[in-house]
Symmetry: C2
Subunit: 893 residues, 2 copies
């Protein structure tokens, strides 16, 4: 019933049903909020209903609003989808100059009564009357100073009484009216304020950011107050049923003695670790632990729970699914399968593939020394380096300039969410592991160090001080979110492998998915990394990347600048040697797995020097006059290189280059095959493209080569290129006196190729969609130039997201669909993959799954994401087809 | 039966049936040639069949081969498709030292006998034995010198006898064998030589050029010789049934007294005009005239006829459809309709739309003085200017360098065809109106001056002399093909309008076509020209072209370089004034006809200076520092401007520009409407897009405005732009207190737009395919760069023709098809046109017709071509659907 009761309200009801100790109360439905917005006034009859329910509540707790045994209320917002911190709450409602005295009398705790009163005045003024909270904080600070109190707990009842007087004066001053004494009036005003808070600026932007509809409204939870601030036998706290950073199966949280809940979340005092509660209140700790377990078991997921202890009695104020790091998410999901709480499929579905990026994010390389200048709480793991900024606004501006920044704040508030999004990592001086900054950062997988009390942050001066080191805006620092270390300068980063629960989860994903996952890898090292991450082959080996190292580049330039056939051939022979060695080693690493080699793609001018200095240098090095060099650069210059003389166009007009590459490939394959034969390694076999679908167990002893022709726009280009490939390959095999198998296929990256895929499939044994170029040409967008208007397009909603990151399914996807349909119609067993950058993007992967591609190919570090995303795609399809039987995650096992 | 008998042979048979005096003979079928190529030898039984037919022939003419009453044979090639001059012929076959005497005896004309013998020896040696004709020419020249003879006719029998002896010696010398005496051997050898000539180099390249299949073979026509060289009562000639240059309905041609046909065609002596035959042989002239009329009537088209007069008896040797200039073609077609020979549809179909280009070609502007240095025969009309070249090879090389050249030759031969193709015009010193150069040039619509005996051409020295003026290679001359004047330097050219038969033909085309024809026109002048050529509207008015004049460019640059809103607005206001004036005048010219205005399309950097000097100059003029100017140029620079920040992308990020343009359009429309109202001109009405299909006769008083948004890739771009257009238009109309109608539509030029045309059509009232950009993006070809490989692609047959000239129907056409289908499904009455350069190309127009586009839009000078091509498309479709009833041109009326 979340849509009616809100998420918080529904959970409160469920807990009540489970006999969990929840303060009694009632809920105003989201419908009332929707009606409020339709008619600009509270719905008719709502007031009567509230009075009726209030009476029941009064009877239950045996206290009455506005009476001498006063009932105080907690009035909290609660949307159908959790929007933590985005909307408003009013606590201790019902107090006025009379009831505060009555509360003091009935509880025998005058301090409690005035502590509640000053909190209520502050909160009501802020939320309902719109008076800035800072006004009250200033007075609190000055009274604390007068009293010599470090914390608010050190203030006595008289201080607090004085405070309430001053608070009331401010309210009168700011509003021109007295504070509303009548608790019923207070309640009505609070409900309307909460309804209004549904459409405050930060709530709207949060909903935009999280794709939450704007018309579902919020519920209002009205409960009897319980008091964590009665004294040292009371406390308020927040706890997670498992560790949200590591996933360890143990209570994790914090609490504050003699405090109300807001104090913990806002990070006003640094709270105590939940473990210490075992010593201070052992009975309560045990009760909390077993209650938490019960709640987790019910929801079959890790919970984030708010609790209050009132005079050694435990109350649960709220439970929700806990936000967690990727590490924690993976461990919890795998553990829960082992604990028989959920199925493997549930575990797989629970991990957002995008979240895995965190696990693959770099960490600080321990091999290099670092200059640690402070240490705080390791609130969200990972590592991040960037220039310091001291406000969210600056972080956003820096992001727009393409800079990487670390956001430094004394403490963060919900207003900072956009700033956190724009930053690489967050460092706060105040707040604990459950502070706003920590929770938000963990949710986004950003590195965060919180409560770093060793530093002093001067936000207005754009500087922080750690010991005697001043760090100014724009200085670079590195955060180690795993250890809490703040490092001056940019530290060396390294990447992690896959092990433990992560490995298990991906293996489960592998058993579920239909789509093969291969890697874009250009070197033997890339190939090894790809295998480590679980690649089933190389879907794209870009041969030109082998040319860019200095020694090789010299030969490429020699070839381009050559004036005679002999010079060209000498340069090509050199390049061939390099390429052959590379291919040999890549084939050796990949063994039986397919290696798809794309022949030279970029235009020749990319290999020539740019800029005056580089031209001068090259002229000297190559013994070519500057004039001639400039002339050649001029002649090779293109107005639109993206649509220029490259790919197979170059192969057709300069066939010697492709001949050389094919020779290198086939020579390497022949030599490796011979070496395998003589070495007698029995491990080689054949695995076809498309991984899981097409595995055959035929055994042979050859590398698995696929030669891919780039930029084909017309089948005739492929026919001509293929003829030469076959001719060269045959010649090499004759020379080497051995036959090796290989396939010839093509990139589909020019729109025309997609449109004429039927013809092309007759000549190609495989297709690989180059979605980068297909997007550039199909969308008419140059990736190098689109930055001039794409951000504005995204802002205006013309495109949902950067089409170079997430495949444009409607337009470019349509081209892919056409090509798949025509291609498969012409060649039934056509192997089809995708090797553009979309191959590692979950939404695009789902699209590839639906189109029944054989595999996706992506950068090695995105392989795990692709494996999981492919499993998600398969599971989502099962759920679509068999909603009852497959939606196992919806019913207990 | 052309495929079996060849074109020449079939016509000879038909003429025989019509009782036209044709020398008797028989034909060896093309089948024999095909078998000859299959088996590399003459088909079995062919020899027997030849002997049998030869006997019949001998009986008919009462002469015998190799007898004392010798029969001589004409052995001529004749392919199913006319390939003039490409294959070989042997005349006077049957002569040897014995039969030549017999011929002299029986005819009593020794000179005739030896004239035939020397011709035969020369021709047989050249064609059958492969001995260069020049060897014989040299001897002929030296004998002529000895004899003091200017022409071969002045040589007597003894001279010729001596000549034959020397000829035989050369043959023995060159072949090491005696000349084959036996006439039967001669015949067999000649037949094989003719079969071989089917695959000589120039025949193959001619077939490639004209898309004639290579496997259809040639027939061989064997006829009894008739002699035009018996003396002054004999002659050979060529005539056209109507004037091939002007189309006048009168005999046109040339003849040579005492000559064989080859003399006329080769241009060895300058022949006499056919009209003079009326005086010299009035009876024969009348017979020739009536025979020609009969043949023309039979074939229902102008004929090119070869004839021989042997002792005052007329023989017709060949008839074929005559090649003609476009002017002539149009006049003949229209005249023949008037003469009831053909139907209007036939007339329309007979004119190749591409040929019309000639009629629209520039001619020499009589208003300017010219330096005429010589005058020759006006062999092919029009005007052309270019640098002189003196060989076909040089003409081809110059063409490849992009230069315009005039080919100068003493006389041309079939080897020069490629040189003629590469040249703007041809000038020859020798040869008449039916010489090789004249015929080929007329066929191609190239300007040609032939027989310009006033000049001396020194081909080896690359120079010609006209009087005392020396013209060297590379000097520029202009040819006036209509008057025969050779002009030194580049003359002023002008363009012709449409009148007379041309006008009539186009009006017939208009009644046949379904496709509307509009113009790409950017100025009021363009608009006027477009109307003169019959445009039904403006399909593309490129507003940016209005910005490139110096004064306006300054304001565009001011806008781009502005630092304040005020500066931008000041510049925009200025530009708006200019644009408003332009629009007002264009609307005024076009009246009720649609004017489709494309909002600004190119990226801003196109308006900035390029190159050091231009930047310096602009910096001074605009009072902007060079640094700042360079900085802005740098910031606006794009790697791939084709895919860059332009079109509606610019409109969306810089909305003030489009606002300005819309304001200019609507203000102009409001003001003109008011002016019309007050002026009371009643001529205005409304005509909808698509011309003929959609004409409605609703009458109102507004210009017919269509605002077109360029470079839309996603419907949301159109939605946003449309909203602003409507807002601005509304505001202007409120200010002007008048409402004017207008439509909003979009270019479809990004592949994605075509793929998502269904969505876009919901927002667009019309589509216009920008096939230039659609080709660039869909094919992945940059028009500016494709020159680097496209020529090689065309040569290798990867693409048939430049896809920027002829629409790529398979690929880009598929995108258009998708867009038309989706667009019309979403909006039934969607008006669809095409405004890329393909809009004026006949094949592409046919494609547009088949897809049921409403109109094509092309440059004003291509409008007549488009009108005719659209009619062709409609007629071809009728023939496809009703082949019997529509193919009226195949049966006599």
């Amino acid at each position: 019933m979340k849509s009616t009761l809100g998420s918080k309200g529904a959970n409160l009801c469920e807990m009540t049903n489970l006999a969990i100790p929840v303060p009694p109360g009632f809920i105003i439905s989201t419908q009332a909020c929707i009606e409020y917005y339709t008619n600009n006034t509270l719905p008719k009859g709502l007031e009567d209903e509230i009075m009726l329910n209030l009476q029941t509540l009064e009877n239950t707790v045996n206290k009455r609003l506005a009476s001498q045994n006063p009932l105080l209320l907690s009035v909290r917002s609660g949307a159908p989808v959790s929007m933590p911190g985005m909307m408003d709450t009013v606590l201790n409602l019902g107090l006025n100059d009379d009831t505060v005295k009555a509360l003091a009398d009935t509880t025998g705790n005058e301090r409690l009564a005035y502590d509640c009163y000053r909190r209520f005045l502050d909160m009501f003024a802020d939320v309902v009357l719109g008076i800035d909270h800072k006004n009250f904080e200033t007075i609190l600070d000055s009274i604390k100073k007068q009293a010599g109190a470090a914390h608010d707990t050190e203030l006595d009842a008289n201080h607090l009484k004085k405070l309430t007087e001053q608070y009331k004066n401010i309210i009168t001053e700011k509003t021109g009216q007295k504070f509303p004494k009548d608790p019923f009036t207070q309640l009505k005003m609070a409900i309307q304020a909460i309804f209004r808070s549904w459409n405050n600026e930060r709530a709207i932007s949060y909903r935009n950011l999280n794709n939450i509809p704007h018309n579902i409204g919020t519920a209002v939870n009205i409960q009897a107050m319980v008091y964590g601030n009665t004294g040292n036998k009371s406390a308020s706290g927040v706890c997670f049923t498992r560790d949200p950073a590591t996933g360890e199966n143990q209570l994790y949280g914090e609490y504050l003695i003699n405090a109300q809940g807001e104090d913990v979340v806002a990070g006003i005092r640094t709270p105590q670790n939940i473990a210490t509660l075992k010593n201070t209140m052992p009975v309560i700790y045990n009760e909390l632990e077993s209650t938490c377990k019960a709640i987790e078991k019910h929801y079959r997921d890790m919970q984030d729970i708010e609790f209050t202890i009132e005079n050694e009695k435990l109350y649960i104020l709220q439970t929700r699914t806990g936000k967690r790091t990727a590490t924690s998410a993976v461990k919890i999901a795998v553990d829960m399968v082992k604990e028989n709480m959920i199925k493997k499929e549930d575990a797989v579905l629970r991990i957002d593939p995008n979240q895995l990026e965190q696990l693959l994010f770099p960490t600080i390389d321990p091999k290099y020394p670092t200059n640690v200048i402070a240490k705080g709480l390791p609130a969200s793991p990972g590592a991040a380096a960037g220039k310091t900024v001291f406000s969210s606004k600056k972080a956003i501006l820096a992001k727009e300039r393409g800079e990487k920044v670390i956001l430094i704040r004394s403490e963060t508030s919900p207003e900072d969410v956009a700033g956190v999004v724009a930053s690489q990592g967050i460092l706060t001086a105040k707040g604990g592991m459950t502070s706003h900054a920590a929770v938000v950062a963990r949710g986004m997988g950003k590195c965060c160090i919180a409560g770093c009390s060793k530093i002093s942050v001067f936000e207005d001066a754009d500087v922080f001080i750690a010991g005697d080191i001043k760090v100014h805006e724009g200085d670079t620092i590195t955060l180690n979110g795993t250890t809490g270390e703040v490092i001056l300068g940019e530290a060396k980063l390294t990447r992690q492998g896959i092990s433990g629960e992560f490995k298990t989860l991906l293996e489960w994903a592998d058993t579920i998915r239909n789509l093969g996952v291969e890697a874009n890898a250009d070197t033997p090292n890339d190939a090894k990394t790809a295998l480590d991450f679980g690649a089933q082959g190389i879907g794209l080996c870009r041969t030109e990347h082998m040319f860019f190292n200095k020694e090789r580049l010299t030969y490429v330039r020699q070839m381009i600048l050559a004036t005679t056939e002999d010079e060209i051939n000498t340069a090509l022979e050199k390049l061939q040697e390099f390429q052959k060695k590379d291919f040999y080693r890549i084939f050796e690493v990949m063994r039986e797995k397919p290696v798809t080699i794309r022949l030279l793609d970029p235009p020749l001018h990319e290999f020539l020097p740019r800029g005056k200095e580089d031209i001068e240098k090259t002229s000297k090095e190559m013994h070519v006059s500057e004039e001639r060099l400039k002339d050649i650069i001029q002649r090779l210059h293109e107005s639109n290189p993206m649509l220029g003389h490259r790919g197979c166009r170059l192969g057709i007009t300069h066939p010697a280059i492709y001949d050389m590459q094919v020779r290198a490939i086939i020579e390497a394959a022949c030599e490796l095959t011979k070496d395998w034969e003589s070495g007698g390694s029995g491990k080689v076999g054949t695995e076809h493209k498309g991984g899981i679908i097409n595995i055959t167990t035929k055994s042979n002893k050859y590398p698995n080569i696929e030669i891919m022709v780039p930029l084909v726009a017309d089948v005739k280009e492929l026919i001509i290129t293929k003829k030469r490939i076959i001719k060269t390959a045959k010649k090499v095999m004759e020379e080497k006196n051995i036959t090796v198998p290989y396939k010839i296929g093509t990139m589909i990256e020019v729109p025309r190729a997609a449109l004429t895929a039927g013809e092309i499939a007759k000549e190609a044994e495989f297709f690989s969609f180059g979605t980068n170029d297909l997007t550039q040409m199909g969308f008419g967008l140059s990736r190098d130039d689109a930055g001039k208007f794409l951000p504005s397009y995204i802002k205006q909603g013309i495109v949902k997201s950067d089409p170079f990151q997430t495949l444009d399914q409607k337009g470019i996807g349509e081209l892919i669909k056409i090509a798949v349909t025509k291609g498969r119609a012409a060649r039934k067993d056509l192997v089809i993959g995708i090797c553009g950058e979309h191959g590692g993007e979950p939404k695009s992967i789902e699209f590839c799954h639906r189109l029944r591609l054989n595999y996706v190919s992506c950068s090695p570090y995105r392989i795990p994401i692709a494996r999981l995303a492919a499993a998600h795609a398969a599971l989502k399809e099962r759920i679509m087809i068999h909603p009852q039987t497959s939606q196992s995650s919806q019913t207990p096992p």
